[in-house]
Point group: D2
Chain length 279, copies 4
């Protein structure tokens, strides 16, 4: 009667400060761990003999962060997932997600300060690693990348039913917060350069695209990544349509030639798709 | 190359005010719509001929709310999902989620005021309805139900590895925010009374359970629902462990016999399981 | 050159669990402390000899919570403020704010469970106590009390300038989140009953008022408190106007007789006033 | 009996898209308006004859944004405040706050894209302008500037009372989210360059300071601005101490030489001070 189940620790926050001569490194991660396995006894009988406490997961994150160079988040997540998979025989699958908040060096008098850092914004780098007996899957991604495209974005020729009042437009603001997560066909990846290259490809495509819709641009972004990065097996992209409503100024005796908009939080369109390498 | 994809409108908020003689009714819903289907052309070619605008989805929510009594949220979601499924042949699956924020009548001088309402808290009632050619699936649920149990909650006998420092406890605070979503084996349900009954069963079980762990209590809660409500096919429960840390007052020369705690937001344990009716 | 300054600790969260025979009590407070005084040396010279660490403030909150019955939050805040004022001669003024999140007993099978609690919502009770050499001022209040009034709320006869497009209405939804903070002319108050009585007076007045505007209703609410509670010296009320926009369904071929609304988060009206006992 | 009162519209969001040949400009502002004046009649009698609707304030923001180049936010806020002050004789004081969310051009292939923008983070530029019969006061500022300093930050020699357990440290992480608001002694300011210069001075001082406490560094930052910018009359700075707790790894058999920290949200220290030009 017990179906799919998992348990773990979420929101384990961690700063690692590394001191080089004359220069510090400051990194901030949030780690989540989820385990699946043979936990029937814990659920039905209250027998915890197979249950690794979630408090231990937290300790383990800190201990492994202390004992090893962090490296790319994909490497740290893989190390953690492997550790948990091996920690008790009941555990059949360990999933570790890491989100990194980027801190950049503060620019002081034109030079990067060695000991002061600025959190540069809402965008996050992330990884999702799953380890099981049959191997380890690594995904990389980004989220919270807020962008607006003010040209080459149309929405025309759509299906109209009796409740359709939207006007066609050749020129609208396309604003979105990109979330993209991709998996690699191989583990032999230099994750840092790959991440930066894929991020740039996503953004270059977004900027250059003659957009007929959010779907159309999302598809082009995913396609460009698959074409350029042979090691990417698939990519899932989620792009909310953060609507910018043209303000009706006619009652105030003014025109509004696509100039003054209200950015809105809700409702919002939500477009999601996965693109895979074809057969 | 195009894998799973969907699009829709989220965060469509709606208040319906109904006027009876001498008495108003005030209901607030947030509706989300997601469609799946044959949208290849829109993605790859930018051809929107099959695309029902998300703006139309919003209009439709308002139009159908105006034209019909809302009734239970399950009924309104079913009506909406059916409408979208039939609106264009490219659409193969329509999913509608509704979250209701509860407003209760204000008590004035000992009596329920007919025209003034109070939003009673963080708990929400929700439904998820999916319509496809092969039928309609209805799920009901609740979220944001914040509870704390200060007795009959232990955590002992767990697995210890070298990173385990947690002490066993026979008496801890179990605090959580319950999210539970269940599906019915039949559509012939009186959704309001069923929802209230299942909610009460979840809470009664939580309160009365001799808890050996969050998993143990979660399982008991799901089991109690399945036993008592034959129409429930399965129930998925998600219970974060909102840790309350005992404050160490020994350095202040004081003891702390399980009395003063710090409630924390992160990290948090996260326990999730689905229970199904056995064969 | 150093003008007004203060420092302290905010967000000190605390649960106190009290065990009576057969019955537990569960209370959750968030405490903030701010000190003012002679801190020139700390600012200009980096000399911390007069600086009580904010970490100590946190410890003190926990220690005093352990050593005393909490009682009403006004009493606990007064105890804390007095303690801090006396802790170092540089301190001239200590301000303590406490916000209490209400937990109520869970109803199980028609009776209040002795050991299980439910957080009942967004409304909070609060106090602000300031102690200085010339005495102690105690304010009590509430916030996050979300209410909607669907009758007897008009907005007509307002000033119109060339940018005014709003239509007059005899019948609108007045929705707001009340924040009210009042001070007592005397310290000899039974804070619990007074708080409940004043809260009821605010709500009864809101419900019964023939509202010409938010200002009008806010004023009536404050006036009612001053009339009924002679010990209240003044009351400050803050009521955002949480607009509910009537949906224009005419383009969908439907009317909308004040029935379907969109609740919005921004922009919002914001009305604030203090009422004082006249001379 | 009516004491201090004001009313207005908050959260008026606005994007202005300006099209130059081959290049767009994209700016996002959030405007809040609050009016004070002779509003006794509205409060006590429900007579709205002196009440400019908050809906009109919203319209006015959009109309003036359409009719004029936005320019610096200080200039737009001054224009708005002057407009409201003159709009009705009952209005004695108009306060306009504007917060600008920065959008920067997306870098595509090494060059700034003319039509695509990225929201660069949590930091905001802001202004607060108050117009009354006796003149207009302009303040400029920033908020949400999240920084961490990992060297030259100590906290020693502080006052110890019986509840003090904090250890002295010569080397701690000082992390904060700076909010600074300053007023100018003259209106003859080139607001853009001044803002950028003051921001740089704040950050340069923070980075270079031998910090004995948050108070000490805050004071040095304000002092540096007053010394370098003669036009600044006073500056108010608010710096929460976003604590980074050293993780105790000793129970895991590991040391932790100031390397692994937990960043925490609450409780937090809060340090606030205003610095003024001396006589």
């Amino acid at each position: 009667m017990l179906g799919p189940n998992r348990y773990g620790k979420s929101g384990v926050r961690l700063v690692k400060l590394t001191r080089e001569a004359g220069r510090h490194h400051f990194r901030e991660l949030t780690v989540s761990v989820a385990l699946e396995g043979e936990f029937e006894r814990a659920h039905s009988a209250g027998d915890n003999a197979d249950v690794l406490p979630t408090d231990t997961m937290k300790n383990t994150v800190y201990a492994l962060a202390r004992q090893n160079a962090l490296g790319e988040i994909e490497a740290f997540a893989t190390r953690l997932a492997g550790h948990f998979l091996r920690s008790h025989e009941a555990i059949r699958r360990a999933r570790v997600e890491i989100v990194e908040r980027p801190w950049e060096r503060l620019d002081v008098g034109g030079a990067a300060d060695p000991h002061t850092f600025r959190q540069s914004g809402g965008e996050r780098r992330l990884t999702e690693v799953t380890s099981a007996d049959d191997g380890t899957a690594v995904a990389s991604g980004l989220e919270g990348l807020l962008v607006a495209k003010t040209s080459r974005s149309a929405f025309t020729g759509f299906f109209r039913d009796p409740y359709t009042t939207l006007q066609e437009t050749e020129d609208r603001i396309l604003a979105t917060s990109v979330r993209a997560v991709w998996t690699y066909a191989t583990a032999d990846i230099d994750f840092g350069p790959a991440w930066r290259g894929i991020r740039a490809t996503l953004l270059d495509t977004l900027a250059g695209h003659e957009s007929a819709s959010v779907q159309h641009t999302l598809h082009a972004m995913g396609e460009a990544v698959l074409e350029k990065y042979g090691a990417v097996a698939e990519i899932a992209i989620r792009m909310p349509n953060k609507h910018h409503l043209l303000v009706d100024l006619s009652r105030l005796g003014l025109d509004n030639p696509d100039e003054i908009f209200v950015p809105t939080e809700e409702p919002y369109g939500l477009i999601e798709a996965t693109l895979r390498r074809g057969a």
